[in-house]
Structures are given as structure tokens and as C-alpha cells.
Homo-oligomer: 492 residues x 2
């Protein structure tokens, strides 16, 4: 139990909250519902950003930047989208404060600086972007338009949790425009694959790819694809979504293009996004009672070297060895920290880097100097090994791959063990209560049944998996015919 | 005159506005005062960000993220800062819209969702950050705290211009905390040097480093250092600022640390920032009547290859040569575009890449194939050369350095030619009206004189240069004693 971290088995929720704070990832701010992402947390997010950004560019997308504010009349234009976000949006009504005449040193909103039209702080940018695309798109030659934006968005959430649900969060939002439905659908699916690939290769997080049921669809979309991950407490977490928008936004904002034949048609659209919520997924999927477990590909520090010494002379001798190892590792693009501070003990440092999830820890003491060895500890398995110094760099290099794979495999095994097929509602409820996880069950395809099940069990349809197996059956709730099992879970 | 671009000599202001739009850098949005940064413009900004971010990290800073919103009571805490920004801040007063009962499909602000405390959209983040630092800093061991944030900020400007002055803009803001005044001052100056170095090495923009007079100081700072650049119309542009905050914010937010001796003291602070305004500086400093001139280090496309062909067979032959050259250049980390579209003519492409400021253009036609040559054109000097294909890659590689240096030298020469020392107010006004540029003149050191000069001439003190020469003299306005000449200019 690191620094008073609660055990996962005792209080998973509290374990998460404490871990986020103690590992210096993020904290609540003095602004209701908004978080501060601390440098260590942000450096993980930067690695995620860099990897995703490269994947977006490799698939032909460019970054751009659109305004933070959405004038109310634009916000209203796509009715479903407006309805979906109206209940949780921050609204700017004034553009000036003035001195409070009754209260020296205090400010009040200046009633004379009231905006004629209120501005909504973007909860998502379809409205602003499609109103811009109207001017950018005239002909088929202007298509496809493949744009991404890294930005902050605001959704006024009442119950917030660090990374998982905050009023302001950071994300990327892709917004593309196409000349045909087929091309837009292909883009939607391509970006889902990009997200899944990123989650699995970088976050070591296995995900189920699927499509949302109607009631879980993005407001304004024709179809919402998603990747769903399983957390260690058996709850699901939606890790990314990719929406096929049909011509909804094109119609709302009158975005048409002239085809090769000169005929005008509405443009087809997609949007897709992942957010700092991924940080929550990363933490909850892999970490343990000692602290974070970060896959090497996203770890800000991949290897830490801790000297065990008494006095300056020993430290100097160890430093020489450590610096040489550090240089060797850096040549292999492994990020290394040599922590030679004499203000804290090796034991304290061990606990600290465990808490911070550093994948590999190297300890070098006087006996190692004598024997020409180092002790190497893996964060994921907690395994320790004393190995010859001459083999250390290669060993650590191999560990980067091994640990990445092991973390993935462990998460995959966990998911396999916690995915259950059921054939009755009784079984469904039993599994949810005793084990949770993903529960595959027949559903009659109606929003009514979905809603009832949600009310009674708090489980929702996470998705209809892309590898959906056609299979005749009966809905576990209504007994009506079903064409195959869909994936339920309680979710974050 | 590219695509109807006005000439600089005829209408510099209109030339700038049109160039920003025609070169696909940015445009006004449907949101008053906010801009859309288009993909091409954003890709230049991304290069600036990458270079600056590396420089910040190399000087020991980490990135983090703080909330977009500042609760009014925090905003008020540092009185001067609050006063400075209260007049131009966007205020969130409500957190929900609802259906307009009188107007189907329309939304109105829900009066029941009024915030108890209004939120200011950050115009700058000192208040939010120092209220956070209070919890992060207890002891000298927590210092220095060296943090940077890339973010959007909002200042409600009434007259806006793309990149130069917009209601929302993108920037980075460094916020550091130190245990001594000397260290904080050193940090302030270090970051000024980083900015100057960036401007000169990457933007090819010579800058004057200096300190602001009291009336031009950042609200809440003890001293504001700045870099000032000269635009082609003889007006100055402040390209970056670095503020020594003294203990002002520490006192406003009660941020104290215990020193080695256990004694408590207020923390010393700095903040420093550059913004998308740099895009304006880059454009206005170097570009010409044909379009953008971008220094190679910031050019999204460094070399474009345009084939001159009739029919597919010729194109195929040229493509083979072009692809080989492209590969060679890419191996040297030069970004290359081969524009083999058959939908536009070579002439159209030449004009397009001139407009877009691509540093080097390679043209390959049938005669080149025969002779084993290519034609290479520099964007900066418009010089064209036919050279052997075998020397092309090395030649272009050299051009990257040469062009970067030439653009810098040209801007430096321009600045030298347009920096004038004057000794009387009559001369001062004459220079401003006939030539503009930087005008060095004696000043008595009082805000009153500064204000009068500004009223009468629209010129402001840009800075007291760091290389200020001590020299007894008389203020050009008041005739009172002066210790040396300071730098005046009309400014953006």
C-alpha cells in the first residue's frame, strides 16, 4: 500500500481518486468541475497526443483551429445536436466586468456589456465547423476535407471525476466532409480502427469495436461507432467514438457541392474524438495497489536508476556506472532518469517510482560495483533480477517490448475472463452483481427494452460489436426475437 | 500581383488582410472577433510550437494544463491584474440553455441555471495558476516550479485583425515560482533570450530586447521585458513578453515557502508568453507583393516540384526523376511536395506556391530530361537557375540555409535602415511621418510625457533596450534631463 493508497479490492473508486492525486497526475481546481492536469499527468497526455497526431496525419488529416465560442443561432441549427448539449453548456452573456460601486475591490458583471447574442462555450464543434465548411466547399474538388482539431471543450457535468468526467476537458475532434455516403462511412470506420490500434498498441488496452444503439448515439449522428474497454472493477469505459453524420450537419448549415456532373448535393460528414478520458482508462486498466502501471510506450520516464550509497565517494563510483548505462539507453531512445538525490532514501525512491508507474527500475549498490552487476526490477510483474552490467542495456531494451506486451496480455486475459454470455435475465443480473464485466445477451432491438434494463440493472448496451454473430434467440428481457447477442455492461 | 493581392506600397493593411486569406492562413469566423486558423496556417503555427516547446523543455520547464475559467473572486484577487483585464473579458453567467416557449426550435438562456459566481474566460492564467501554486508550494524544496501551458485565451477586443488582435487567440504562458528575487529575475531574462533566439533563428526576425516603461507594463508585473520587431511598413510589433511579477501574485494568493532556515517568505514569480500574433509578425516582416515568404525552418512545404509536361508519357518520365529527387531531399529532412496534378497549369502552380511562400520551387520539363537538368527558383530573391540534376539535392539543401540567412539579413538591414536617432521633437515627428521605423529619442522618464507624445504622434515607447546607452541628454518633449535614448515607434 503505497503512501496510504486504498486497496482496489476494498474501495476501487477511492483507490482511483487517490492514485490520480498521489501520482501527481491531476487534481480538482478551485473551478467547479474543472481539473488541473499536473506536469507528470500532462506528459503522459503529450505522448498520447503525439502518437495520435501522427496517426491522423498518416491517414491524410491536417490540424486546424476553430473558435471556442458558438453563437446561439449556430448552436441551434442542428436540432438534435442542440437538444443533446443545451442542458449542459456554459453560456457567455457579457463581455466586461466593472467595479462594484458598493464593494471596493470587487467586480460585478457590467449590465451595459450584455451580448446581443449569447455565446455557448463549445461542447463539441460540429456547429462552428460546418458553418465554416459552407464557405470552403463548392465543388467535388474541395472534397474530401479531412481536418482535426486539438482543443478544450466544456460540458457542464454535475458529478465530476478526474479525467473520467470533468466540466472542461481536452480532446481532439476530427471533422471530415465527403462527396459520397460510402466514403464517409469508410472514414468513420477507418478512424475507429485508428483509435482501436492506438488503444491496443500504445495504451496496451484491448478494446471491443462496435456500433452504439440508437439511444446511445451522438446527438446529430446517423451512427456512432465506439471502442469499449474493460476496467479492473468490471465496469466498461467508452474510450473513443467515431460518428457517421450522414447529411445532417450539411443540411442544417446548407453545405452543398457540385459533383462532376454539375449536380448539387449535400455533403456527407463524419466526426470523431478521444479525450483526456483516455487517461482515466489507462490508469484504471493497468494500475495496482502500489500505484500506476504505465505501458512503456506512454511512460514519461521509462527507466529510473537509483543509486544505493553511503557517502559521496560511493555515489561518485555508482554515478559513473549509472551515467554510462543512461547514455547507452538513451541511444536506444529509452528515456532515463538517474535519481541521485541525497535527500531521500532508496526505499522512499523505490516506492515513489512504483507509485509513478516507471516500467523499469535499476538499482546499483556497492556490492553491484564489486560484482559488475545491477538489479533490475519490472514494475508490471514486480520481478527482480540481478544481471551483469554488460547485459543491462540490452536487457532493459528487451523489457520495454516485453512489458508493453505483458500489460496488454494481462488486460486481454482479464477481459476474456470477464466477458460472459448469458441466456436469461436472471443470469444477466446475477453476472452483473457477482462479477460484472462485459455481458453478452440477446436484445430485441427496441429502445424501450434497453431503457427498462438500464433502469433495473444500471447496465447499458455498450455496443453491438463489429464482429456481431448472427444467431437466432430471444431477448432476455422481453422474450421477443433477437438476431444476436449485444454487449452490455455497467459503465463509467 | 498574385491573385489580386494589393501592393504593399499602395495599401499595406489591405495587402496583409488579403494575403492572410488568400494564402489560406486564417479567416474571420462567424463568431465576432474570433478567427479560424486554416490547415496551412496552422501547420506553420505547429512548427513554431514544436520549436518553442523544445526550447522550453531544454530550459527545464514542463507543460501542464489549468482551467479555462477563472471564478470572479479569484480574478479579483490581484488588483492591478483584475483592473487590467476586467474591461475586456468574456463572462459565463449560466450553465444551461432551454427551449424557448415562444419560439419553436429556438433556445434561450435558462434563468434557473444562473451561476452563483460568474466565471471569467481566462484572458491570462496568473490568477488560476497562483491559486493552485498555493497548494503546491510549502518549502524551498518545492521551488523552482517551472511550468508552461499551451492554451487558448480570450480578450474582448473591439477592433480585431487576423492573428494580430483577435478576441480568442492561442498562446503559451509560462508561470514560474522561485525562492529568490534574483532567481526570478534571471528566469524572466532567460525566457526573453529564448524568445529572441526563437524569433531570430526560426522566424528570421531580428528583434530588439528591452524593458517596457511603467505604462506599458503587464497588469500585475513589476517589470515587463519584451522583444520588439519591425514590420515592412515601419510599424513595430511586440512579439513576446516576459514578466517579473515580484511577489505580487504570491501576496494576492498567499503563496509562501519555508526557507532552509525555516523562515516563511512570499514566493517570487514570473510569467511569459508568445501567441499566434507571431504569425502576423512572420507574415508582415518577410512577405512581398507576390505572397508569403516563409523562412525554411518554419515552412510546411520547403520544396515543391512542379512537372512541365504534355501527356501521360512525359509526366511518367518526369515523375521518375522527381520522385528520386524527392526521396533524396526527404533523407535530408527536407519536406517536399511533388505536385503532379493535371487539373492546373504549371503557371498556375508557380503562382500558387509563390503565394504560399514555399522557399524553393523545382521545375522539370522535357528539355530538362534531355539535358539532365532542373530549374530551381528561390522564393526570397526570385532568382532562377538551371543546374545539373545530379547537383540538385545538395544545392537545395544549401539553399535551405542560405534562404533562412538571407531573409534574416534582409529584415535586419531593413531595421538598420529604419532605425533613426533624433534629438528634437520636430525631427521625431518628421521621421515618424516620413519614414516611421524605430525612433531613438531622449525621454524624461515620466508617464506624463510618454502619454503626451502618444496623444500627439501615436508613437509609444516600445522599450528601453537592454543595450541602452547611458548618455546625458534632454527629453525631446519636456526638455528635462534624460539618461539615454529609448525606442519609440508606432505599433501594432
Amino acid at each position: 500500500m503505497a503512501k496510504g493508497l486504498p486497496k482496489r479490492s476494498e474501495d476501487y473508486s477511492q483507490w482511483y481518486n487517490e492514485l490520480v492525486k498521489k501520482a501527481d497526475l491531476a487534481e480538482h481546481s478551485s473551478v467547479r468541475g474543472c481539473m488541473v492536469i499536473k506536469p507528470y499527468g500532462f506528459s503522459i497526455w503529450e505522448k498520447m497526443q503525439a502518437a495520435l497526431d501522427k496517426m491522423f496525419k498518416d491517414t491524410g488529416h491536417s490540424n486546424a483551429y476553430f473558435p471556442l465560442f458558438v453563437p446561439k443561432n449556430l448552436f441551434e441549427a442542428e436540432e438534435k445536436n442542440a437538444e443533446g448539449f443545451a442542458k449542459e453548456c456554459a453560456v457567455v452573456t457579457h463581455y466586461r466586468l466593472k467595479n462594484d460601486p458598493d464593494n471596493k475591490g470587487k467586480l460585478i458583471v457590467d449590465p451595459e456589456a450584455k451580448l446581443e447574442e449569447e455565446l455557448v462555450v463549445r461542447p463539441t464543434s460540429e456547429a462552428v465547423i460546418w458553418s465554416t465548411y459552407k464557405n470552403w466547399i463548392q465543388s467535388y474538388r474541395d472534397l474530401p476535407l479531412l481536418i482535426n482539431q486539438w482543443a478544450n471543450v466544456v460540458r457542464w457535468e454535475m458529478r465530476t471525476r478526474l479525467f473520467l468526467r470533468t466540466a472542461e476537458f481536452l480532446w481532439q475532434e476530427g471533422h471530415t466532409a465527403h462527396s459520397s455516403k460510402a466514403e464517409a462511412v469508410a472514414e468513420t470506420k477507418q478512424m475507429l480502427e485508428v483509435y482501436a490500434d492506438f488503444a491496443e498498441r500504445f495504451m496496451a488496452l484491448p478494446v471491443v469495436k462496435g456500433v452504439k444503439s440508437e439511444s446511445e448515439r451522438f446527438a446529430g449522428a446517423e451512427d456512432t461507432y465506439c471502442i469499449e474497454a474493460l476496467m479492473q472493477d468490471g465496469k466498461a469505459l467508452q474510450a473513443g467514438t467515431s460518428h457517421f453524420l450522414g447529411q445532417n450537419f450539411a443540411k442544417a448549415f446548407d453545405v452543398k457541392f457540385a459533383g462532376k456532373d454539375g449536380k448539387e448535393e449535400y455533403v456527407w460528414g463524419t466526426s470523431w474524438g478521444v479525450s483526456t478520458r483516455l487517461m482515466g482508462a489507462l490508469i484504471m486498466a493497468h494500475s495496482d495497489d502500489e500505484g500506476l502501471v504505465i505501458p512503456p510506450k506512454l511512460a514519461p520516464i521509462q527507466t529510473v536508476i537509483v543509486p544505493i550509497f553511503k557517502g559521496e565517494e560511493q555515489l561518485n563510483q555508482i554515478s559513473e556506472v549509472a551515467q554510462k548505462l543512461k547514455t547507452e539507453l538513451q541511444a536506444d531512445d529509452i528515456s532515463v532518469k538517474f535519481d541521485d538525490r541525497d535527500t531521500s532514501s532508496p526505499g522512499w525512491k523505490f516506492a515513489e517510482y512504483e507509485l509513478k508507474g516507471v516500467p523499469v527500475r535499476v538499482a546499483i549498490g556497492p556490492r553491484d560495483l564489486e560484482n559488475g552487476t545491477v538489479e533490475i526490477a519490472r514494475r508490471d510483474t514486480k520481478e527482480k533480477k540481478v544481471i551483469p552490467l554488460s547485459e543491462a542495456a540490452q536487457h532493459i531494451k528487451n523489457l520495454m517490448t516485453e512489458i508493453q506486451e505483458n500489460i496488454y496480455k494481462r488486460a486481454l486475459d482479464f477481459r476474456t475472463d470477464n466477458t460472459t454470455e448469458v441466456d436469461s435475465y436472471a443470469e444477466f443480473k446475477k453476472v452483473l452483481d457477482e462479477k460484472a464485466g462485459f455481458v453478452m445477451a440477446h436484445w430485441d432491438g427496441t429502445p424501450e427494452t434497453e431503457e427498462k434494463i438500464k433502469e433495473e440493472t444500471k447496465a447499458t448496451i455498450r455496443c453491438i460489436p463489429l464482429d456481431f454473430k448472427e444467431e437466432e434467440g430471444k431477448c432476455i428481457y422481453s422474450g421477443n426475437p433477437s438476431k444476436g447477442k449485444v454487449m452490455f455492461a455497467r459503465a463509467y
